[in-house]
Amino acid sequence: MPGDVGFGSEFLAIVFIAISLGVIGMLAALVWSNKHASEDKWMGMAKREGWYTIIFLIVVIVFATSTLGLLPYPYAHQNIHPTMVVNVRAQQFQWCIAYAPNWGTDCEAIMKIPTGNVVLFNTSSIDVNHGFGLYTSTGNLVDQVQVMPGFYDTIIYNFSQPGLYYIRCLEFCGYGHFGMVSEINVTSS
């Protein structure tokens, strides 16, 4: 579940940088290889193509399957029980975040959540599509979910670290979209 295992964009960035450097190296190697051309009239690496395909297939399937335990869908984590439910109503261009069972009323200017709570966010919109994006105070995007009119989208996040968190709309919803922000204060009290 996001928030528990620490995987995030840093890991993705490291993977991207590593493979990008490999790509640059591959290009350099290709140019070098042309200066040391062989006399083969057909593709010399053909014999390796089958093995390459098998290895590539195994890598991508393992990659996809290894993340099944991290799916961002609450229904995929039946063993995780939220300790708190927060209802989120989105509209152009503001969030109404309220403790359950309030929905669209008693909106908190800054939602307060005690540290260590596993929170289920129950989101919906009353007009157009929005995007509930949860950022830490240092700007890490730690969770998100689409917020669609006529449906309830849910996410679970474990606020194990205290501090200020921000909610930013991540789905273009009109011309006030850029300012659609709210705050969550996670404290130990």
Binding site: L12, N34, E49, G50, P72, D127, Y166
Partner: protein, 612 residues
């Protein structure tokens, strides 16, 4: 892994020939020119929109003054995205495919009379789309219902509903042109009217299923006793057929969406809910990104053997990736909806694994293409460099795409600049670079003129490649920092950490200006080239083609014999007139050497054929 049990004689195999294709008629060439020039004209316009967007984001509305507002940004973003994915890509693909079949399959287009209809329908449609944006329409190039025509309390739709009706009407015209184009391509690929080796080989290609199998690469997976009853389609045509199949299948839900959008814009109720409309949108808007890409990959398979002066050892590996691109090309669509927890789980899982399969198809293609060039006497002419650059963009975009194609990691990248980096690597650093390369290659043939200046071509190449990769890498950095996409102002005072975005936004703008300045070289070059006097009919330029001798044996290793000199560095073909300025009197220029008829098939190559 064994590729074939057939022994290859040295004289068999693939030859590079320069033979005029009678199917590439002057009429067809004229329409290829029109489509391609329209596409690059649209590219320049849509690129200008992007430049304004970059300036707006970098300056937080200071430089552009009144132009720098969220409203204008939305209009620009809509016009730019549609302008590139539709305005550039559609006519480019129309033109490229209209060239591919006559050139490499020696078939005239099934109905040349449809070409002007496709052109004018498309041009009208894209004009209406941009007109709608001019009058305020700005929900984005992908538009999630009900934003295009509905707002919040008090009717806060920020643009006139008439503009959304015009937008939907324009998109319908564009997609009608697409349907007609696809029918034309299917007719060219599968019609029985052609009297050629693909229809009239004794005991081969007797059924439509055989033709379908080879036209989409499924023949790579068939046992040899069935494969031997199929005459393989040229790989360049496979990309065209695959992309048309994907688009033809997915255009119908999109028509339903456009009708619903028009209906709602006119004030009537909707006949689909928002989740269904989201599914219909992405069912079409994902394969759309492959529309030019697949035919261009077909061109990589066609051109790289020429530049590497080598043949693929087995055409089975050349054909094997295509089904892995065809089916997942549609099946991956739900990865755009990973962040909707109400989307059925089965569709999410299908899309996740389909994304991995399409990564595999891409990986096989890249290995095959790079493997052919490895340790070859590769000719690094301009077109070859454009193509290698495009393949690099393809790989980098593919890495990010694979990351985003997993729901767990999609959480950190969805709707951030990571998505922008992914499709700009694949689009700008991929298909656009390849598009310039292919234009560089076929321009002399379709215009019968040479390029005006190799220096301008080089400036255009190095400038575009350097600044495009720099800008998109900057996007990737911003993506990993969590910078949101489609924001007029990512930097806002309520979020103190966003001030850290500013240097990257400024850099992206500077690199965008670098790309724009590089296009000036291209514009001057193409105008001066077109203004030059065309060569006479006797000097008609014919670009090299790799051809199989007799089209048999099919999967045997082939030895390459080059009959014509390799291409010169400026993208122009070598001048067959030589030092004397006269064409050789023996007729050897622009003619293949006489090839004895193949002992197994009785056919000689090239085939003489008649079209009905």
């Amino acid at each position: 892994m064994a590729t074939s049990q057939i022994e290859v004689k040295p004289e068999e195999g693939q030859r590079i020939v320069q033979i005029p294709s009678a199917a590439l008629t002057p009429y067809t060439k004229a329409w290829v020119r029109r489509f391609l020039f329209l596409s690059f004209f649209d590219f320049m316009i849509a690129g200008t929109f992007a430049l304004l967007m970059r300036t707006d984001q970098a300056s937080a509305a200071q430089i552009l003054g009144e132009l720098g507002s969220p409203g204008v940004f939305g209009q620009l973003e809509t016009a730019h995205g549609i302008g590139m994915f539709v305005g550039w890509q559609f006519p480019f693909t129309y033109g490229l495919c209209t060239y591919i079949f006559p050139k490499y399959m020696k078939r005239t287009i099934w109905s040349e009379r449809l070409l002007p209809i496709i052109f004018y329908l498309f041009a009208s449609g894209i004009s209406l789309v941009w007109l709608a944006c001019l009058f305020g329409f700005g929900p984005g190039w992908y538009f999630l219902f009900p934003l295009p025509f509905a707002g919040g309390p008090g009717g806060s739709s920020p643009w006139p509903l008439g503009s959304s009706i015009v937008f939907f009407a324009g998109m319908m015209l564009v997609n009608i042109s697409l349907v007609i184009f696809c029918i034309n391509i299917f007719g060219t690929a599968f019609s029985n009217k052609y009297n050629d080796v693909f229809n009239n080989s004794p005991g081969k290609n007797n059924s439509i299923s055989a033709k379908l199998a080879t036209a989409m690469g499924f023949d790579a997976y068939l046992p040899s006793r069935i494969r031997n009853r199929i005459v393989a389609y040229p790989v360049a045509t496979i990309g065209a057929v695959v992309t048309c199949v994907d688009m033809f299948v997915t255009v119908w839900p999109f028509f339903a969406l456009l009708l619903d959008g028009s209906w709602e814009s006119a004030g009537f109720g909707s006949f689909m809910n928002n989740l269904v409309s989201k599914n219909f949108l992405w069912l079409n808007h994902h394969p759309i990104v492959y529309f030019a890409f697949f035919p261009l990959v077909g061109m990589y398979y066609t051109l790289i053997p020429i530049f590497a002066k080598r043949a693929f050892e087995s055409s089975r590996w050349v054909r094997a990736p295509w089904p892995l691109l065809l089916i997942p090309g549609v099946g991956v669509y739900s990865h755009h909806i990973f962040m909707d927890t109400v989307q059925p789980f089965a569709l999410q899982m299908m899309s996740q694994y389909m994304t991995m399969i399409i990564a595999l198809g891409s990986g096989i293609s890249v290995f095959t293409l790079m493997g052919l060039a490895w340790r070859s006497k590769y000719n690094w002419n301009l077109t070859a460099r454009w193509i290698i650059g495009a393949i690099m963009g393809w790989i980098l975009g593919g890495i990010i795409g694979t990351e985003l194609g997993d729901p767990a990691y999609n959480t950190y990248g969805h709707n951030t600049y990571m998505v922008l980096a992914h499709f700009h690597y694949n689009a700008l650093c991929g298909i656009v670079l390849a598009g310039f390369g292919v234009l560089c290659w076929i321009f002399p043939e379709i215009t019968n003129r040479k390029w005006y200046s190799s220096k301008l071509s080089e400036i255009h190449f190095w400038g575009t490649v350097a600044f495009a990769f720099a800008m998109v890498t900057d996007f990737a950095v911003m993506g990993y920092l969590g910078v949101p996409r489609k924001e007029w102002s990512p930097v806002i005072p309520q979020l103190p950490f966003t001030t850290g975005y500013s240097p990257y936004l400024l850099m992206a703008s500077l690199f965008a200006y670098g790309i724009a300045i590089s296009q000036i070289a291209f514009i001057i070059n193409i105008i001066m080239s077109l203004r030059s006097k065309p060569l006479g009919r006797a000097d008609e330029i014919v670009m090299p083609t790799p051809e199989f001798v007799g089209y048999e044996p099919r999967y045997a290793p082939v030895a390459l014999a080059i009959d014509s000199p390799s291409n010169t560095s400026n993208g122009n073909p070598p001048d067959p007139r030589g030092a004397s300025g006269e064409l050789p009197s023996d007729g050897s220029a622009n003619r293949a050497n006489d090839v004895p008829s193949h002992p197994r098939t009785g056919f000689s190559s090239p085939q003489k054929f008649e079209t009905i």
